[in-house]
Amino acid sequence: MGGLTMNTRVNPDFEKELQKYGKGNWNECFHCGNCTAICPLSEDGFLFPRNSIRTLQMGLEKKLETSIEPWLCYYCGDCSETCPRDANPGELMMALRRYLTTRYDWTGLSKKFYTSAVWEYAAIAIIALLVIVSFLVFLPLRPDAALMVNESGGVMINSLVAGVSPDRFVTLIEYGDWLMAVIVGGLLITNIFNMYYKTIIADKTVKIPLSAYFKEFWQLIYNFVTQASFSKCEKRSYWLGHLLLMTGYTIMFIIVVVFLPYFQIEEVVPVWHWQRLLGYYATFGILFFLGIVIFQRLRKNPITMKFSHASDWIFIIMLALTTLTGIILHIFRLAGMVEATYYTYIIHLAVLVPMIVIEVPFSKWSHLAYRPFAIYFSKLKLATLKEKSVRKLAPAIS
């Protein structure tokens, strides 16, 4: 038998495994430490990206699986831009986020989606088809739909379906929303718990007092809403852009899921109505950001947009389609084009539903939840690292 403490064995194959989640010359890193030092988010207790690169190079899977660091990175790209070896540390953090998403997901679907685009396309297609078929079969266009135009010439959207009263139609859709939210949320919550287990419970080196959970809880909310951490990156515009997208997206999500009966209404509200203003803001935020991102990804510049994984494109395209169909729907409705409104509505949902079902628990969208939790968890850990503040700016070096 060996000694009391068993040394961890290195695993040279792991790097190949991770290449499925993102491409990078991570083995080229010669450990100058530049990336960690240039990153404003890297701090004692949570040093990255160099530590993560090293862990990857050595194939220390357990250590990677239990690390929070990838979520603390917002990918401003400073590390990759200044990396002396073109090892692209930022892209590794991105790949690790994808990898970790699959590790948190107990269903195994996430791994399938991330490592096989075919799987993801198929899943999207199936759900989209389900939506379309359900509508055409159970909620067909009523024969006299052409009459369903209100006094201001707009389409009465809830009255287009045959055999279902407008109120009931909204309720049906709302139930659908809730059902989707419960399933998706449930999956996400179990995944977050999985993340919590791996990063906090399994880490025997820190013991977090219960009080810390309450004391630091505001971090979760605060960081979710403001993405304050990202604002510490030198490129503030990235943070603004990201914030714009995130708020727009979240607003739409809340409106559609929570306030659907107040949103999806028959009359056309005035332009300055909260509903339309919020909708326009969200649309603008999402489109503006998406436009830039698509442009940058195609140009492969800046460096953060150089390497696009299939999951990135799927997310962007789905989101863009959702938004565009939403806009078209809005226009058709205002223009009183009944049939077009109906079919666009179906298409809108046929894009939206798979996007949420696939993206939220299993793919890129999940980072919206994992990030603030990671920050929360990291603060919990930091609270237990007492010396932390003492070390700052201390010149003494052994």
Binding site: A37, S42, L47, P84, D86, P395, I397
Partner: protein, 462 residues
Amino acid sequence: MNSSSENGNEFHQKVHPDTLVIGAGIAGIQASLEIANAGYKVYLVEKSGTIGGHMAMFDKTFPTLDCAACILTPKMVEVGQHSRIDLLTCSEVTEVNGYPGAFKVKIHKKARFVDQQLCIGCGSCAAKCPGKAPSEFDSGTALRKAIYIPFPQAVPNKYLIDPESCLYMQTDGKKCGVCVKFCPVNDCIDLHAMDEELNIEVGNIVIATGFKIFDAKKVARFGYGKFPNVLTSLELERLINAGGPTEGKITFRTKDKKGNWVFKPDGGAPDSVAIIHCVGSRDENCNAYCSKVCCMYSLKLAHLVKEKLPATAVYEYFIDMRAFGKGYEEFYQRIKKEGVHMIRGKTAKIEEIKGSLKLRSEDILNNRIIEQLADMVILAVGLEPSDGVKQLSEMIGVEIDANGWYKELDSLLDPVGTARQGVTIAGVCQGPKDIPDTVAQASAAAARVLQSIESLKEVEFI
């Protein structure tokens, strides 16, 4: 070995016994002396106004810490006095024709404006001269006059005028001209002296054009040129040198009355100095190659700072410590024992906070971020081929690699020969090198020259 004339197209030519050496740093000096001491004539062409190159600028040399000037000046003096060395300063090669064994070389000899025979070096001219420019020899840490001797031990030790900073020449003779008035020797200074063209014939050419240092401004996040007390290693070298602007004191760059940033002996000493390795080297964004000497000269500078200012804390931020030569590893261990802090982890950025510099680095071996406050930061800049390498290489017909270093004939067995017969390379122009390797290579280049002349070997030509 013996030239064969089996091939009817070959013709034979005796090797001209004179040699052209381009560049008069330590490599060019060594090669010239070896050849001249064997009894053959050498034309030593140097772009600047003095021989000595970078080595003359250094204070001490690693790892033995002998004084650079002390070991170099005897050789410089020897060159200056050598009857078989024709020293051509302020000169550049502009054309190379002919063929191996009989190169016809055109040299552009810029006017020095001061007669080298007549000048007695009294300094009256410089005392009155109003023109000033950053001293090349002091790496810009001090100003020199427009009429100047590059440094006190320069060879030739005669004044010269830099037209760029001369008021008379800049105003087309409308202003100034005081140097002529105050010169005690008649016809010594001729402000209208013309450049000369020189045509020589040589049998061999030795290229020893050396290097220039990496421009630290290219790494913006270190703030060189923005923060006054972020210095290049060469600037620190001049500060430490007793002949430098601060008389050997390590002081801050401070503002003078006119608001210029200058170094002066009472500028105040730093309590902490950080040295950052690999600035511009081992970096795909700058030069991917390793500059070979920076680790060692950084250790040397750390030692010298400690020697001058024992209470000053010195930090070295490095990636890999490349202490490879004879006595180098031992030197590294010695510097560690002297209390210099060695941190594995390259500094990523420097900020200025209330006059102090804040360096952010990862202390890799201790798994932490260091935000270090330092009074002075030294950037260990790498080496780059000197300006004009491309033109010269095309002129002579010798290949350079992608980085601009001259290519040797055979990287393994012929480190000094080139693909062009009759042309040899010596020193850093072939790739970064320390002084012992440079000197050895320069001597080896000389051996090749001597051997070709001595055997009166007929150059084979097809």
